[in-house]
Amino acid sequence: MREFRFFPLSTFRLPGFVPAVTRRLPQWPPAVALTVALNAMIRLGVLPKENLDPLEGRTFLVEVLDAGSRISFAFRNGAFFPAASGMPDLIFRANLSAFLRLVARRDDPDTLFFNRELFVEGDTELGLVVKNTLDAIEWPKIPEFAAWPIVRCRV
């Protein structure tokens, strides 16, 4: 009954030395990559602009715990920008495998929260807006090349 095993993306944890190495690296390249991707999603109409209004002027921190990576970004004037580290309005913390399972829709955020794999701190309502905006995305609308990593995970 293989088809009912719904979590082929295994739960893994990066080796312990990774954060020690990553913390010595600049944190802005991942922030640039993420914000470029998010802005492309706005342009392609994947992220509906009207849903993003509550995000205006807010700052976010995504912390990949086992990678030792902290990605700070903000949403201003309808676009995402890397942000200087300060006090974010909303923090998501999880290991890399949990974030991947979330993006690939293998696990839902509630499951990860119940299982204590995802931590949310700060403005909870803003967190709910982000979660529900992500859930409302119809991935097939993304052009083939951009959707490739996600489609691969959904097989």
Partner: protein, 337 residues
């Protein structure tokens, strides 16, 4: 071999991808609501606009599935028109039924849209065949969703005594189950499911992480504190741990999920018309998984009810996505009367 009618599988949709996930994974019907207080899952960013609802209904209908719209909160006095407009748009969009809880709205829908199928929502809190038959006689409801407070024997007794189709819950989060009558959330926040469409609205919820602990606060009130290896639940007041006579424990209800797989054959034998999955607030991944498992289980029952066996993978996957630490049969198998 015994043959029973296999109930309709009714699955939740908080957005278009969840609706499609439900349909693609075998739901016979999907239920959803508008982006406002007219439904009991009024969470920021969740639910449907007129456009997405129209697309979702078309998607379900093209595949032979039914589309049900939940308008299951109680109108705020002076603003009844918002709720009536939701009924007007449901009729205009061609939904297969609306789920209503309020008697005034049942009357409005029955009078203005006699062709529209009406279901009495679980929030309508009808737990006896007399109550159900009264609503049926006055407003012509086609189906009732039973509150999660009845034993299986009581469900069977209702089915024997009413012409109304009976829908029961099969999977999802539980609360104190004083459905349609719970105001607990109001004591901490001023808002409750029946007034603002949300229990423990997110704007009042704060999670605080400290070494070894995570605390949950609702409008500043500490309602629970988890150690790092404890599973968490939703930040609802009824699922908080409270100090009672010097002991701190879940005084009202535990974070727990209903899962009827173990008694699904018995539920089917009572003659229920539909099995409902809770969770419009959940993501498409949850909807897809639960729908797929319950579809497989119901199909297996349709083939051979006596030979029904639960696939251990179903049990493991459902346990993983459940709220809190436990799975329960809820009131269905309550030994006491």
């Amino acid at each position: 071999m015994e043959h029973y009618r296999i109930p309709e599988l009714v699955c939740p949709a908080g957005g278009l991808p969840a609706l499609k996930a439900a349909v693609d994974n075998g739901a016979d019907a999907v239920y959803f609501g508008c982006k406002n207080e007219t439904n009991a899952r009024n969470f920021a960013g969740l639910n449907f606009t007129r456009e997405t609802m129209s697309e979702g209904i078309a998607y379900a209908h093209a595949r032979g599935r039914r589309a049900l719209m939940a308008i299951n909160t109680f109108p705020v006095p002076g603003r009844e028109n918002d709720w009536r407009e939701a009924i007007d748009s449901a009729s205009g969009l061609g939904v297969d039924a609306v789920l209503l809880a309020d008697i005034g709205l049942l009357d409005y829908a029955h009078e203005h849209y006699p062709e529209l199928s009406l279901h009495l929502s679980v929030q309508g809190s009808a737990t006896s065949h007399e109550a159900i038959n009264f609503i049926h006689r006055e407003f012509g409801i086609k189906r009732v969703v039973l509150p999660r407070v009845l034993t299986l024997a009581q469900v069977a007794q209702i089915i024997r005594n009413t012409p109304v189709e009976v829908e029961v819950f099969g999977f999802g989060s539980l609360c104190v189950m004083n459905e349609g009558r719970c105001w607990l959330s109001s004591y901490a926040t001023g808002e409750s499911p029946n007034t603002a469409g949300a229990c423990s609205p997110a704007k009042f919820v704060k999670w605080e992480k400290s070494p070894g602990w995570m605390s949950t606060r609702l409008n500043g009130i500490l309602i629970d504190r988890y150690t790092d290896d404890e599973r968490a639940g939703y930040p609802a007041l009824c699922k908080g741990r409270f100090e009672v006579n010097g002991e701190t424990y879940y005084a009202l209800e535990e974070p727990v999920s209903l899962n009827v797989l173990e008694i699904l054959p018995d539920i089917v034998k009572t003659g229920v018309s539909a099995i409902k999955v809770e969770g419009r607030q959940r993501s498409p991944a949850y909807v897809a998984l639960v729908t797929r498992i319950l579809r497989a289980a119901l199909d297996a029952l349709g083939r051979d009810i006596a030979g029904f066996r639960i696939d251990p993978a179903w049990r493991a996957d459902l346990a993983r996505i459940s709220e809190g630490a436990q799975i329960t049969l809820g009131a269905y198998n309550r030994p006491w009367r």
